[in-house]
Symmetry: C2
Subunit: 189 residues, 2 copies
Amino acid sequence: MAARKLSTVGAARREQILDAARDLFSIKGYRGASLRDVAAQVGLTPAGVLHYFPSKEALLAAVLQQRDDTDIPWFETTWAQAGSFREATRELMARNMAAAGVMRLFVTLSAEAVDPRHPAHEFFRHRYRTSRELFSSTLDKAKSRGEVSDTAMGPVLIAVLDGLQTQWLLEPDFDLLASLDDYLDTIAP
Amino acid sequence: MAARKLSTVGAARREQILDAARDLFSIKGYRGASLRDVAAQVGLTPAGVLHYFPSKEALLAAVLQQRDDTDIPWFETTWAQAGSFREATRELMARNMAAAGVMRLFVTLSAEAVDPRHPAHEFFRHRYRTSRELFSSTLDKAKSRGEVSDTAMGPVLIAVLDGLQTQWLLEPDFDLLASLDDYLDTIAP
DNA sequence: AAAAACCTACCAACTGATAGGTGGTTTTGT
DNA sequence: ACAAAACCACCTATCAGTTGGTAGGTTTTT
């Protein structure tokens, strides 16, 4: 939106701060991770961080928005390439597991944001709403191609993905992909 | 374990603190709710709260333990009474929805506790492990009675319950019970 | 020279926790 | 029956550390 006045080195710093903030928010939550923590991780002072983001809340917003942009179109593309809906879903999860930091971020923050006063509350409401629409229409497509049973539903699929991720994050030995397969079996045509 | 030296008035206060802590932890998380918040809610000073619980961490432990005790045997009893597995599961969820504060507590804290350094990390690891065993064996029983399909699995059921709760907490208009029914349809025999 | 990229030096508010009390109730010794 | 000792339920005052954020200056890049 606003015209940025960032040099190349400045833009790089911004990315660096964003990365550090994502890592720290994902581990300690938004309320648990301080500006000092973020600043220390990139070798700056808190004031240095606030030179790039006017407030901690703005930093959070930037972190969230960054990921939201890339996530939405990904699934359909993968589905087209992977061939089967099942394979695309497995790849989605494998991709999430490879980026455990991002997964933690969303699991941690979505729970924290259940509080209506949380700065990310509206973000996650909106995200789940669009996410339900997306998965519902994607499942409809899969149904019409005979790839999944008619009983499969978007909100349930989202719940399975979220819930299994929580269990995996708590206990990395938990066989997430096997349980995902278990669910996909139940909605096989 | 240790012999308590609490008068009746002291025991009542203790309960009161426990209730307030549960409410506040459930809304703002463990890290987001302060001893001052808890103290203020029951009309005490922080030092007054620490008279009953030696530390904030001990207070959290007490809050968690309090709920864990009553939850475990509940499901099987309900199942026996309700008749069908499906009805018992729906009653479990209806019960959780009636106690939204407790639901928030576990959704909020289980996500926060993904961090290995979180004081409740081990508690939730243990809880999910036993919970998986419990639901797995319960599902086995239901399968042998022909109440659910063989494809139903404990970890997936837990994921569905958890995931749907998160969506409902974020958006109270979300029809949790309908989505739960959708899932139960997929594991109908 | 202008602007970006920081820094130091703060600030008020809040964090969990401790020390050392005060007033009331209960228990004990006689 | 009655005082003294013990104990419980808190309090005030304070601590050192951390929080997000600001003001204003200095260095580096363009």
